[in-house]
């Protein structure tokens, strides 16, 4: 097959070479006719050089022989005959043949070097891309995926990588594997054999081996060798082995094993933490739901509703359960923030809806204060995560209620200020000193005066700040000083009027 292909290529080259000689001949004929040129035989070197450079040795030799014959025809006696008789002509023939050999050889090695350089450049590029992917990988699964793709590009065949023992998840490709293949993979994974080839029953031969014979951490790889005749398996296998041993050395060099172990450890810590938070959340909140629910049932029962003192006690149970629930929610939110798990789901929203929802949710907590509302009508819509902003605003409202005396006024406003929407809460409470204001919103910060006034975790404003900035806004506090009340405002950018949402069709 390959021989035929080669013959055809050489034949085509030779035909082209002869064509070039023919063109040269036309030129030479024209020259001899018009200019009486007598030493034009050197022109026949041109097709030899060109053929040698572009077409290879055989076409170049064909061009050399044809060129010498034609130059004999034109320039050497007996003129107009192909008969080679003079030593000059023999010398020419030798010279042309040498030129043909040297040119084609030079061209050949040039081409080889160019190809090698290109290949090396591609390899370096691949390696660079691979190492960048490794650096960016955040989990063992990511790293294995990077290795798998890297090996696939090296081997140029379909490969499936099975991570080291810990990586238990089944891959979609795996499901399609035959029983025999699974058996072989299990054998290699367990270390019973280092490498093996298996016929998958569908006509393809698979090579199964560890990625690195030295380091089991890199996992086991199955490579689809395709439909290889039995006598050629050994050869293909050796070629793949060569590529893989290079690849394994690369993995060692890039310290992939350490990265893998670290990723695995990280995900275990993560899992533990998640489990802990999940169980705390569930274990604390389920009883809270019963306590709060039971308190509301009690307060409505005839026996208790008759007695004002008992009703207020039921109210205490409810309020305290509510407060505890709030603190748990704060802890959960704080964990979400530290783990950078805040992903705003932005949508267009009426600013007043956020304010109203936050106040409605806190109606009981605010019942001791005089809350007045100052909302501009027809405020532009804002594009934020309404739930996050409501929670942030709620924290601010909670703080106002906590740090100002019962019966005092709280003013809630929603206004436009330049390109910002400003949601603000003003109280007549403890206020802030300049130093307290500088620290407000830091995690766990509570001013000494505030800590003395009431309990709290110091998380509220920190959470509010994080939620607001996740929506592209900022939170600010202002106070004339200790005892002079506080105004906390949330600034959210709204788009210019041109960027307001499009009105839906009304017909």
């Amino acid at each position: 097959m390959a021989g035929m292909e080669r013959l055809r290529r050489e034949l085509r080259g030779s035909v082209i070479a002869l064509g070039m000689v023919a063109v040269t001949t036309v030129v030479v004929y024209a020259l001899t006719q018009s200019l009486e040129v007598r030493r034009g035989s050197v022109l026949y070197l041109l097709p030899v050089l060109l053929a040698g450079w572009h077409l290879g040795l055989i076409p170049a030799l064909v061009a050399a022989v044809a060129g010498v014959l034609w130059s004999g025809y034109f320039f050497f006696s007996p003129y107009y005959s192909f008969y080679l008789s003079r030593p000059n002509e023999i010398l020419n023939l030798l010279l042309f043949m040498v030129v043909a050999v040297v040119t084609s050889h030079l061209a050949n090695s040039m081409k080889q070097q160019t190809e090698l350089a290109k290949k090396r450049e591609k390899e370096v590029g691949n390696l660079y891309a691979f190492s960048r992917r490794l650096a960016a990988a955040s989990s063992a699964a990511d790293i294995y995926r990077a290795i798998e793709e890297h090996l696939a590009s090296l081997v140029q065949r379909k490969v499936v990588l099975f991570g080291a023992a810990a990586d238990g998840q089944a891959k979609p490709e795996q499901a399609a594997f035959s029983q025999r293949l699974h058996g072989a993979i299990a054998d290699v994974q367990a270390g019973r054999t280092l490498a093996t080839t298996v016929d998958d029953g569908a006509g393809d031969i698979w090579l199964i081996r560890r990625v690195s014979q030295k380091n089991a951490d890199f996992g086991v790889i199955a490579i689809d060798l395709g439909s290889v005749p039995p006598d050629a398996i050994e050869e293909v296998r050796e070629r793949v082995d060569d590529v893989l041993s290079d690849a394994a050395a690369t993995l060692e060099r890039l310290d992939v094993a350490r990265a893998l172990n670290e990723a695995k450890m990280r995900s275990e810590t993560e899992l533990l933490r998640e489990a802990l938070i999940g169980s705390v959340s569930h274990e604390l909140r389920t009883p809270l739901a019963s306590i709060l629910g039971a308190a509301t049932v009690l307060s409505k029962s005839d026996a208790i509703a008759k007695d004002e003192r008992l009703t207020s006690l039921a109210g205490v149970v409810r309020d305290e359960a509510d407060r505890l629930n709030n603190e748990i929610q704060n802890l959960l939110d704080a964990t979400r923030i530290s783990r950078e798990q805040i992903r705003p789901r932005q949508e267009w929203i009426e600013p007043q809806d956020i304010v109203n929802a936050a106040l409605e949710r806190r109606r009981r907590r605010l019942s001791a204060h005089h809350v007045s509302l100052d909302m501009e009508i027809n405020l532009p819509f804002i594009y934020v995560d309404p739930v996050l902003v409501e929670q942030a605003f709620g924290q601010v409202v909670d703080n106002a209620a906590k740090y100002s005396p019962p019966g005092s006024p709280i003013t809630v406003a929603a206004k436009r200020n330049g390109h910002d929407l400003v949601l603000s809460v003003r109280d007549r409470g403890l206020g802030l000193t300049a130093q307290e204001n500088a620290q407000i919103g830091e995690r766990f910060f509570r001013g000494a005066r505030h800590a003395a006034a009431t309990s709290g975790s110091g998380l509220g404003l920190w959470i509010a700040k994080a939620f607001v900035s996740a929506n592209g806004g900022k939170l600010e506090a202002a106070s004339a000083g200790a005892g002079l009340g506080t105004t906390v405002s949330i600034h959210l950018p709204f788009a210019t009027p041109a960027n307001q949402p499009e009105v839906g069709p009304d017909e």
């Binding site: 389920t286 629930n325 267009w348 009426e350 739930v387 839906g504």
Partner: protein, 238 residues
């Protein structure tokens, strides 16, 4: 006597939650049937068809949403889901698969009862054909397609009316953005929440005393809208 009390099926695996729900619901005149598991719930729903289902999502044997789906395959019983906070996407999904409303744990009994009664009234209204929904000064005559405030006619555009009509049909219960968008503007506009924001603003200017502090058409952030529950007088038909 108890034969005439509406039956509520309470599906929750936490015994303390079941206890307070039973007390609160019985005080309100319900006859309570407990179920601890999803399988239990589905069995009771066939043996003793309830008038109301209260369904917790975290069940030991199957996901609450699966119970909901299997129940909805043959029953349209009013159903309230007990949900956890800060998962708006889940609430929307449950409402889309047939829950009438949800309350977020921890919740007060009054809140749960308000949602439950609204859902039950809607089912009665749907079967009895009661045409007028009254909410405070607002009256929506679904048969004559007339909206009045304190007796004075309010002029609405066709889309504004359609929006109000859908909310009135579910009065007292939340209606998701997606449902409203699909019904009013059609499926291609399922995600154009801003259409709703703009039309609700216009609608509030026509039906609310103070549009900045709505008392009738309420927003459920991240989920949808709720027309407040109609007066018991209108719903006493049930």
């Amino acid at each position: 006597m108890s034969e005439e009390n509406p039956v509520v099926l309470v599906v929750d695996d936490e015994v303390q939650i079941r206890r307070f729900l039973r007390a609160g619901l019985e005080l309100d005149g319900f006859s309570v049937q407990d179920a601890e598991t999803g399988a239990d719930a589905l069995r009771w729903a066939t043996i003793k068809p309830p008038d109301l289902v209260i369904l917790d999502l975290g069940l030991p044997d199957m996901d609450g949403s699966e119970v909901l789906e299997r129940l909805r395959a043959w029953s349209s019983v009013p159903l309230i889901v007990l949900s956890v906070r800060s998962n708006e996407a889940e609430k929307v999904r449950l409402l889309e698969s047939g829950a009438d409303d949800y309350v977020v744990k921890p919740f007060g009994m009054a809140e749960l009862l308000a949602r439950a009664h609204a859902a039950m009234r809607r089912h009665v209204r749907a079967s009895s054909g009661e045409p007028v929904v009254k909410v405070g000064p607002l009256a929506i005559d679904l048969a004559a397609r007339i909206v009045t405030i304190n007796g004075a006619r309010v002029m609405l555009t066709p889309k504004e009316y359609r929006l109000l009509q859908l909310l009135a049909q579910h009065a007292g219960n939340v209606v998701t953005h997606q449902f409203l968008l699909k019904e009013v503007w059609g499926s291609p506009h399922l995600h154009d929440t801003h259409y709703l924001r703009i039309f609700v603003r216009k609608l509030r200017q026509k039906i609310e005393t103070d549009p900045t502090q709505p008392r009738i058409l309420l927003t459920e952030l991240g989920v949808g809208y709720r027309l407040v529950a109609p007066e018991p007088a209108t719903a006493a038909a049930g």
